[in-house]
């Protein structure tokens, strides 16, 4: 099962380190990362495989958002199906 992790907010050091470390601890495997910085605005989108994760997706998503708050970023983890459904005919 794959999920999409979206990290947005004001750019600062250590964002990728913090997020990828968190995902590693949870047993999620990062398959793809893309990242852009527009001025001071940071946006990163990751595709992660959570088949081996030790937590259910809903719980993991909540923990992800909570971790985001601690580092001042907005973080979402969502099942990839929602994007496939909404953006493909």
């Amino acid at each position: 099962m794959r999920a999409v992790v979206t990290v947005t907010g004001k750019d600062r050091t250590g964002i990728i380190a913090k997020v990828s470390n968190f995902l590693w601890e949870k047993g999620a495997n990062i398959e793809d990362i893309s990242q852009t910085i527009l001025g001071e605005y940071f946006a990163m989108i990751m595709i992660v495989d959570i088949s081996g994760a030790n937590t259910e997706l809903a719980q993991l998503a909540a923990e992800c958002s909570e971790m985001g708050k601690q580092i001042g970023m907005s973080i979402y983890m969502q099942h990839e199906d929602i994007f496939n459904a909404m953006h493909n005919v």
């Binding site: 979206t6 946006a43 997706l57 998503a61 099942h79 496939n84 493909n88």
Partner: protein
């Protein structure tokens, strides 16, 4: 595969534009619960609803967490209760209260189906049942009631229309300490649908399976935002933009509906394409119409703009879902839409304009507060007008009107939450009682004879 922009667009829809799944509604057949006595039937009803829907709240929470889209309401609809209590109609309140208790046990927001279908004529047990509605709504919290008083195929049952005027008055009177909230939980329908997930008019039709999941999507804010991107486009392009947006919103609903049905061990019923506003700023159908170019909703052109919006939402939505049903049209409830509330306060929108708008959208005169001294026969006449629009035009229409006891024009009623607040709107003072007291039926229109 989706692009990064698609991901960011979806998140913006949720974060800034109030995209949500308005409701997951589980329809449950109560027919297996009928027993010899009202007491035993009520017990069976409570047990069955609690068992069938036991995981609805957890499932909604899980899906919301997994897909990152809020699911605002969890609801249950049941077989019209008048059918379940036909052998002991005066004891129907026992079943009503059992359903309300089940709703509380499950932790759901509303339960609909304290209903009767009398579109052709009223059976004795239905007449008794309908008269229990005000008391039951006053003594329960989450239970909703509806009565179907007409249909294109059978005409309008004017005896029921007359009775409903009195029932609305009494429902408001018995709950006057709460601004007449009893009347806000009651709908009079013409052409009621059997798979509607929205309240207060949801019930589970007898043609449905044991347990069905119907989903209502929302997203007026998303549509408004999409139109803000093309401020000078012509109306052809406006319609296209609405279709594209409705497609995306509906796809989210379809995904959630199918997954919810699987997890709840129920059939996937329908996705209802209605645009449902909330009192939150930026979640308003009225403001979409204003974005299209009307200074204040209610002005000339409002009906045309609404017709375009309603049709485009359906065209986009039908393409996005394998099964569309319910009411599927833009809602225009006054108390639940900040744009409507403001227009009503200014006097820009009137009951007459709202009635005209219901010719081109679902569903009817919805969540409108009127002076408390409005005669019951005038309320019946409003119901008759709406039912006539539905009957002639082959569409669902409804009336959910709140007589504000002890209050008049210039004051307002307030319910809080999704039900919002409503400025009291003036009604015509001419007497319509003779029409209503004639009774009988308004015959079905000639174009209903299609066989």
């Amino acid at each position: 595969m989706f692009s990064n922009n698609d991901v960011l667009e979806t998140i913006a829809m949720v974060e800034k534009e109030h995209l949500d799944i308005r409701t997951i509604t589980m329809g449950i057949s109560l027919l297996p619960c009928i027993r010899d006595s009202a007491e035993e039937t009520a017990r069976k009803v409570y047990d069955l609803v609690c068992k069938k829907a036991e995981n609805i709240v957890k499932t909604a929470r899980d899906l919301s967490g997994e897909y990152g889209i809020p699911i605002v309401n969890k609801r249950v609809s049941v077989t019209p209760v008048s059918l379940i209590t036909a052998a002991f109609p005066e004891k129907s309140p026992l079943v009503g209260k059992a359903l309300d208790n089940a709703a509380k046990t499950l932790g759901i927001d509303f339960l609909g189906g304290y209903s009767a279908l009398v579109h052709k004529s009223t059976a004795d047990y239905e007449r008794i049942f309908i008269q229990t509605i005000p008391e039951v709504l006053a003594e329960t919290e989450r239970l909703c009631a509806s009565v179907n008083v007409g249909s294109t195929k059978s005409g309008i049952n004017m005896e029921a229309v007359k009775l409903l005027g009195e029932v609305f008055k009494r429902a408001a009177e018995l709950t006057k300490d709460k601004d007449g909230i009893g009347a806000a939980k009651l709908v009079a329908f013409c052409n009621a649908v059997e798979d509607n997930p929205f309240m207060a008019g949801a019930f589970h039709g007898v043609g449905e399976a044991d347990a069905v999941v119907n989903v209502g999507v929302s997203g007026p804010g998303v549509v408004k935002h999409a139109l803000e991107q093309i401020p000078n486009a012509d109306l052809t392009e406006v319609a296209e933009q609405i279709k594209r947006t409705a497609f995306k919103i509906t796809r989210a609903g379809q995904l959630v509906a199918k997954e919810a049905a699987k997890r709840l061990n129920a059939q996937f019923g329908i996705v209802d394409l209605s645009l449902a506003p909330t009192p939150a700023i930026g979640d308003s159908v009225a403001q979409i119409l204003e974005e299209m170019g009307i200074e204040t909703v209610g002005g000339h052109g409002t009906t045309a703009a609404l017709a375009l919006l309603n049709d485009a939402v359906k065209k986009g939505g039908v393409m996005a879902s394998s099964r569309v049903g319910g009411l599927s049209g833009a809602f225009i409830p006054v108390s639940e839409d900040i744009g409507m509330i403001k227009a009503a306060q200014k006097g820009a929108i009137t009951l007459d304009k709202l009635e005209a708008m219901t010719c081109v959208c679902s569903v009817g005169l919805d969540m409108i507060a009127i002076p408390g001294d409005t005669p019951a026969t005038t309320i019946s006449a409003m119901i008759a007008d709406e039912a006539a629009i539905g009957m002639i035009n082959n569409k669902t229409t409804a009336v959910r009107i709140i007589p504000a006891v002890g209050k008049g024009v210039g004051e307002e009623v307030s319910f809080g939450g999704l039900l919002g607040r409503a400025p009291i709107m003036p009604v015509h003072n001419c007497d319509s009682s003779k029409l209503i007291l004639r009774g009988g039926n308004i015959p079905a229109p000639i174009h209903s004879f299609k066989n």
